[in-house]
């Protein structure tokens, strides 16, 4: 059995154990989470943590918050113990798809107070792809680096082909033209310039390993063989040329991705046989020597390489190579950076200490890893677990680390990084062991990638395929020199922190604040493929301006966060933290001075920096276990802004508020004792007792009647309520109401000093109850008033209606009375049937036949014997609009008088109704009343029978207008009916009538008895119907009818035909009898 020789010193406890022992009293138990948080997380599972994370990230982004987003821890343990912040994210079960979150209510720091600004590139890939710069541009990806060319002054790089390492012959490559100005060469200017600068500061450039950038890619190389390659570059300080060496190894053969079998391989016999015992021992020795040197304070803190060399004193046992290495590590590490002229002394020391800690950490971890994996025990264990070598091994399942230390693959990553760096910089003492070192590196990388360690396996006899990760043998030397044009490389540090001084560039000074143009790659490089536009709405096409691109992978993937605070920060601490250099938070780390296991030396004052935890950060992302493309696309499209913000934004706010309230509550809890409920109860009982006594003493005022009712009701309910314990609260309320009647002073009296708070609360309750009672009372009063108002309103309404009815009745009565008076005065009545009825068909025909009569023929004869011809009938009566002549008027009126007399049975000499001809009036006017004897005789009107006559009809034709004068001796009235005046008449006519009556009556005349009145009659509205009006009015008055109630003006056209019929009939007989009106 082969035993590796490991120095004993290296077997002490790791820094992580130390940290755990000395660490802050953080309990690793499950944190106490709030119910709402736990409930929501349990409901939504993985989506919850992811949504919350994206929400926080987006909130920061949208607010342009300067504080970083939360860190994702590798395990729950880590999150609980070393994590900070109120909300902590971690990866559950080492499955990156299982992002989980816990809440730490005890931590007053919100996630904004978290100090670490970096998170895993895999999660960056997972959570925030595509990531954008501040100007909305996406970062350059690894394949795009060849586009980055920021110098337009290429410098000739001469290719040198030194003796091949390990004696292998390099591949013959066509040397590029020295004066080539391809952009790819120009991309070398910056690193090269920096290298030259560094060179000038180095006093002893024996071998000048300067720049080396690892470019890890898997591609076809040299025909069919595939290799993973590591490039190493050197600059010959003599002529300034650059040589590039490429280290190759076999990559894993591509087989079925889902099979864990590794075909063609079997377990190796010995873990050290592949690399070689001697080489491993040597490497371990060198590493231990370096660790020991640092432990023995053989490291000098210098500010520059020049200073370092100047102050080098070999007598003190200082290790110059170590010092230079640490200095270069400092320069290469982005999180530390080179010493700048602007840095203060304190800051320079800090940087140097950080680099030293980093170096020590890397060397120690590499040493530890080698100790772990190159033992027969470890190999046997895996042999027992797997009969055949598997393709992948989850090492962490089988290597249980001590609590709170790094897992195996985390260690492997740190070790691999360190060894890689050693390879690049050709650590002193490692000369000749590059291949062995590279093999260790490949092994470590395999562990980190959860692949089978190449040292553990060997190809089976009949298989010729090389071991994955193994180096090519024979003509395929692991080392070969390649033309720099083949390299797509960039200097890591330079991209992060561009140098301000550009000594080699004269005509184009570079402004770091300026973006530089992207030049099309030329030369031997194949044409770059077209990059699809990022699938994001926020993407803006690259403008035509100078810019520079940043890149994230794979170089950035090897720039993990270096610092994780190990102590829970207070808010005060968090404020003081300088985020870019978190190591200044010296309080966050425990001092190791008291650790006896450390060799305390003068230089270890600052060794506590070493306590920084650098957990493995980059997990291998399996394509199978990634988020589905659809999910990522959807999240990209919305950037998680809308959905997650809507879903988790308020939730976050609630959490924040809840946290603050908890803190305030806990603070108050300590300062303020809780009041005793029993005391309060006693007080309430006492108050109630007093109130009852007061009630029994005397009746309360009327004002409290409502309250009394309230109290009685409350008492009844009280009795019921006492049976149930649950009704205790309501009982208290009733008590409060009952105490309302008692004075406030009583409460104050009963409240002792101890119960001041309770009494105050009591008073407030009483006040509230009293207000409620008052409001109730007011409400009832308002209700009653409202009803009163309503009743009053109804009463007024009824009264008003009654008054209106009364007034209407009065008006009706007055109207009736007036009508009765009018009727009694005029002696006129309403006809019993229509006065003007339609003609029968026979009479219609007779009337119509008049139109065709002989003009000279005598169609009818009036009572006076006046013949009526067609002229009288047609031209003067029947034609529409015809004016009536005297023949028609006189004939009609005489017929009326005759009919009335006959119906009354009066003799001709003693008529009841007398009618004058229309020529009476002209005679009366011209000759006077005394000269009308002949006409009066003819009308049989005498002094003696004057009062026996009911009606005297006198048609008057004056000025082409027919009117009617009526004398009614029985009524002692005279009247003049003018159809144009609706029955009213002319005063002169009436006076003349009275004069005629007076003359006629002689001594029978009594002036006081006689009056001139007006009758109501329809009004004439046209220019031709006055004759018809006159005749019809005469008919009405002869019959004693009210003309206005007997006919209307619209009936007069029919009346013309009726009059014609009456004249043809020879009077109002037979069909035209006046009986019954």
């Amino acid at each position: 059995m082969v035993r590796l020789r490991f120095p004993r010193r290296a077997r002490r406890r790791t820094t992580f154990d130390t940290l755990h022992n000395l660490g802050t009293p953080v309990s690793p138990s499950i944190p106490d989470e709030t119910p709402i948080f736990r409930e929501k997380r349990d409901q939504e599972g993985v989506k919850f943590a992811r949504g919350l994370y994206v929400t926080i990230r987006n909130q920061h982004f949208m607010r342009n918050c300067s504080c970083p987003i939360p860190t994702i821890y590798t395990s729950r343990q880590e999150a609980v113990i070393v994590g900070t912040g109120h909300i902590r994210f971690f990866i559950a079960d080492d499955d990156i798809t299982k992002l989980s979150v816990i809440q730490q209510p005890a931590d007053p720091n919100w996630h904004c107070a978290r100090g670490d600004c970096q998170y895993w590139p895999v999660y960056e890939d997972l959570l925030s792809r595509p990531r954008f710069n501040e100007n909305g541009k996406r970062a350059a990806e690894s394949g795009e680096l060849e586009l980055i060319s920021e110098n337009i002054n290429p410098k000739a790089v001469e290719r040198v082909l030194p003796a091949a390492v390990d004696g292998s012959t390099p591949e013959p490559e066509p040397a590029p033209a020295p004066s080539s100005e391809s952009p790819m060469e120009s991309s070398w200017i910056n690193p090269f310039a920096l290298a030259s600068q560094v060179l000038t500061t180095m006093a002893a450039p024996l071998t000048a390993p300067l720049t080396a950038v690892r470019d890890f890619f898997c591609g076809f190389f040299q025909g069919e063989a595939r290799y993973d390659v590591v490039d190493t570059r050197k600059v010959d300080d003599a002529n300034g040329t650059v040589s590039v060496k490429r280290l190759k190894r076999h990559c894993t053969p591509s087989t079925d991705a889902y099979s864990n079998e590794l075909p063609g391989f079997s377990w190796a016999d010995n873990a050290t046989s592949y690399i070689g015992r001697g080489a491993l021992d040597h490497i371990a020795e060198v590493l231990h020597a370096r660790i020991d040197s640092i432990d023995r304070s053989k490291v000098t803190c210098s500010h520059s390489l020049e200073d370092l060399r100047r102050s080098f004193d070999p007598i003190l046992g200082e290790d110059l190579d170590l010092n230079i290495a640490i200095h270069k590590l400092m320069t290469d590490t982005p999180s530390i950076g080179p010493v700048l002229p602007t840095d203060s002394t304190n800051r320079r020391e800090t940087k140097y200490r950080d680099a030293q800690d980093l170096y020590l950490d890397g060397a120690f971890t590499a040493y530890e890893l080698m100790q772990e994996i190159y033992t027969e025990h470890n190999l046997d264990r895996y042999k027992a677990l797997f009969p055949k070598p598997p393709r992948t091994i989850a090492y962490e399942e089988y290597t249980k680390p001590e609590k709170h230390t790094r897992t195996l693959h985390e260690k492997a990553r740190v070790a691999a990084e360190f060894i890689e760096w050693v390879l690049q910089h050709h650590m002193h003492g490692m000369e000749g062991f590059e291949e062995a070192l590279s093999k260790v590196f490949v092994d470590a990388n395999a562990i980190h990638k959860r692949e089978i360690i190449p040292s553990y396996i060997k190809p089976t006899a009949n298989e010729s395929s090389p071991i994955p990760g193994s180096f090519p043998t024979g003509p395929d030397s692991p080392f070969e020199e390649v033309p720099i044009n083949d390299l797509s490389v960039a200097y890591r540090w330079e991209y992060k922190f561009p140098s301000t001084d550009q000594p080699n560039i004269k005509h184009t000074p570079i402004n770091i604040n300026e973006f530089r143009p992207i030049l099309e790659p030329k030369g031997i490089l194949k044409k770059p493929k077209e990059w699809p536009a990022p699938e994001s709405p926020k993407y803006v096409a690259t403008p035509e301006k100078k810019r520079r691109l940043d890149f994230v992978a794979p170089v950035a993937s090897y720039a993990p966060p270096k610092e994780i605070p190990v102590q829970v920060m207070s808010l005060k601490d968090a404020i003081n933290v300088h985020w870019h250099h978190p190591t200044e938070t010296s309080n966050s780390v425990k001092d190791y001075e008291n650790d006896a296991s450390w060799n305390v030396g003068p230089a270890t004052k600052n060794r506590h920096r070493f306590a920084k935890i650098d957990k493995g950060r980059s997990l291998t992302v399996s394509d199978v276990t990634r988020w589905t493309e659809k999910e990522v696309e959807r999240d990209d499209a919305e950037m998680g802004l809308r959905v997650h913000e809507a879903k988790y934004g308020p939730f976050l706010g609630d959490l924040r508020r809840e946290m603050l309230e908890n803190f305030q509550a806990s603070a108050q809890e300590q300062s303020k004792p809780e009041p005793d409920f029993n005391v309060r109860k006693q007080i309430l009982q006492r108050i109630r007792h007093e109130k009852n006594q007061k009630t029994s003493q005397g009746p309360l005022g009327e004002k409290n009647s409502i309250l009394d009712r309230f109290f009685r009701k409350a008492d009844q309910e009280d009795i019921v309520a006492t049976e149930g314990a649950a009704s205790e609260a309501s009982q208290h309320e009733h008590n409060i109401l009952m105490e309302q009647a008692s004075a406030t002073s009583q409460v104050q009296q009963s409240a002792t000093d101890d119960d001041l708070a309770i009494a105050t609360k009591k008073l407030e309750d009483l006040e509230v109850s009293r207000q409620v009672a008052h409001e109730w009372e007011d409400g009832i009063r308002r209700d009653i008033e409202e009803r009163h108002r309503e009743a009053e309103r109804l009463r007024k309404e009824v009264e008003r209606k009654r008054r209106e009815e009364k007034r209407r009745q009065e008006q009706e009565n007055r109207r009736r009375r007036e009508e009765a008076e009018q009727a009694s005065r005029t002696g006129l009545r309403v006809p019993k049937r229509p006065l003007i009825g339609s003609l029968s068909n026979d009479w219609e025909k007779k009337v119509s036949s008049v139109l065709h009569a002989n003009p000279s023929a005598e169609l009818a004869k009036t009572i006076d014997g006046q013949p009526l011809t067609k002229r009288d009938f047609v031209d003067k009566l029947l034609e529409p609009g015809a004016w009536l002549n005297d023949n028609v008027i006189i004939g009609s009126i005489s017929h009326i008088a005759d009919a009335v007399n006959k119906s009354a049975g009066a003799k001709d000499t003693n008529p009841k109704c007398a009618a004058f001809s229309s020529y009476f009036w002209p005679r009366l006017e011209s000759a006077g009343p005394s000269q009308c004897g002949r006409l009066m005789r003819k009308a049989h009107i005498r002094k003696e029978n004057f009062f026996d006559i009911d009606t005297i009809l006198i048609p008057i034709c004056g000025g082409l207008h027919w009117t009617l004068a009526v004398v009614r001796p029985g009524k002692r009235t005279v009247a003049h009916l003018d159809s144009m005046r609706a029955g009213a008449g002319d005063v002169d006519v009436k006076e003349r009538l009275l004069d005629w009556v007076r003359v006629t009556l002689e001594d029978k005349w009594v002036a006081s008895e006689w009056s001139a009145i007006d009758y109501e009659a329809p009004r004439q509205t046209n220019g031709y119907d006055c004759g018809v009006f006159t005749i019809t009015n005469a008919l009405c008055l002869a019959l004693g009818l009210n003309p206005k109630k007997s006919y209307t003006a619209g009936q007069l056209t029919l009346q013309r035909r009726r009059l014609a019929a009456v004249l043809l009939n020879g009077g109002f007989t037979k069909d035209f009898s006046l009986e019954g009106f």
């Binding site: 006076d864 014997g865 006046q866 011809t869 002229r871 003067k876 609009g881 015809a882 004016w883 009536l884 002549n885 005297d886 008027i889 001809s917 229309s918 020529y919 009476f920 002209p922 005679r923 000759a927 000269q931 009308c932 002949r934 006409l935 003819k938 034709c957 004056g958 000025g959 082409l960 207008h961 027919w962 144009m980 220019g1023 031709y1024 119907d1025 006055c1026 004759g1027």
Partner: protein, 98 residues
């Protein structure tokens, strides 16, 4: 009276009768005066027609009135109890509409 007229008519050749039997009748329409000497038994239609012809009027459009009484064509001075020197008034036909 009726006997007288009959007598007069019947005994036209009576010597004393013509002085007594003839009447002078004045017919006037306010503008013109026409005297007629007629017998008592003569129908006034003769007189009325003569007057209308002289004045150029139709008989239907005029009204002859004696003391306000309409004179019919068949009337004679006897029926109207006219005396010598009486006057007949001629009126226009009475027409009215408005």
């Amino acid at each position: 009276m009726a006997d007288n007229a009959e007598n007069g008519n019947n005994s036209g050749a009576d010597a004393a009768a013509p002085a007594v039997e003839h009447l002078n009748i004045k017919v006037t329409d306010n503008n013109n005066e026409v005297f007629f000497k007629i017998k008592r038994s003569t129908k006034l239609e003769k007189l009325m027609t003569a007057f209308c012809e002289r004045q150029g009027k139709t008989l239907a459009s005029v009204r002859f009135l004696f003391e306000g009484q309409r004179v019919q064509p068949t009337d004679t001075p006897d029926t109207l109890e006219m005396q010598d020197g009486d006057c007949l008034e001629v009126h226009q036909e009475q027409v009215g509409g408005c």
